[in-house]
Subunit: 155 residues, 2 copies
DNA sequence: CAGTATCCGATCCGATACTG
DNA sequence: CAGTATCGGATCGGATACTG
């Protein structure tokens, strides 16, 4: 069980940690995932790209909203989210539409009516995101506690 | 099956979409998830908070890396990610540590040695994130294709 | 109703220089 | 080795005013 890939010599405690980790369920898989997420340096990579696109203040929330309520009009989305500006909702929806995650249907009426919905692709993403969200509701207080106690101890 | 909550009258196509969606697996659950993600307006909410914290360029990638390789030293992380600046790695790791997702062990040696690892909380998050990443590797090309064809069509 | 257009402050993030 | 400190450009995102 010699160290590889330039990792330093382990002390006893670390060795145990690594051993436990290696004994667990498929660390190779996670390594592969990370490596795939790394291809950006040599060319475009979907993982980093997806991360970049959903890493903003409103995308995930919008996807969750459309996932939960189905077809919605512009101002329905706006008011359900509540504290999103008109500009940012427009920008967010355009991005999601460009990526094929949200569909946009315009009805030639006066006053205009525009309906948004998740595409099948968007719905499949929403299912993953909802799992992440469930994790957050379960473990969010742990994070907030850790954050508070870390701040109380200074820095 | 009357419309509720202020939604407009549906045309036939939309009605079908909604019906299919309602007939599916538990849209109420997603509604609940979204509503929980909404509590921020009335007070702090874990979901929006977690979203805000991982919504940056490097957090998810760092979590994936530590998940895949276990204990790593500062420069090991740095070089495996490759294109992260020293400053951003420090900032990212401090945030993750504050939130109790990453542990930091300092060894009183010269030259200094600092080892990072996921905490159990961080590991459980990593498992969710890795699912999201698997989705991205599977569907990333669909997104890139959609984006490209949307850009080709102008705007 | 569903946007656009413009402005501007906040923050993110990289580059660089320095340090225990 | 593993940081900290400082600067400046880029981008994000809110407020406001206007429009088909």
């Amino acid at each position: 069980m010699a160290p590889q890939e330039g990792t330093a010599v382990f002390d006893r405690h670390t060795a145990v940690t690594i051993a436990e980790f290696d004994g667990g369920s498929g660390e190779k898989k996670f390594r592969k995932i990370f490596e795939e997420a790394q291809q950006t340096r040599n060319g475009p990579c979907p993982v980093r790209d997806v991360i970049a696109r959903i890493s903003d203040k409103w995308s995930l929330l919008t996807i969750l909203l459309l996932g939960g309520y189905g077809t919605l009009r512009f101002n329905e989305i706006r008011h359900r989210i509540g504290d999103i500006s008109q500009r940012m909702l427009t920008v967010t929806l355009r991005h999601l539409e460009e990526d094929g995650l949200v569909s946009r249907r315009i009805y030639a009426e006066v006053p205009p009516r525009v309906e948004y919905d998740l595409t099948p692709l968007g719905r499949s993403l929403m299912e993953q995101v909802s799992l992440l969200t469930e994790w957050a509701t379960l473990n969010g207080t742990s994070i907030l506690d850790a954050r508070r106690s870390s701040r109380r101890k200074g820095r």
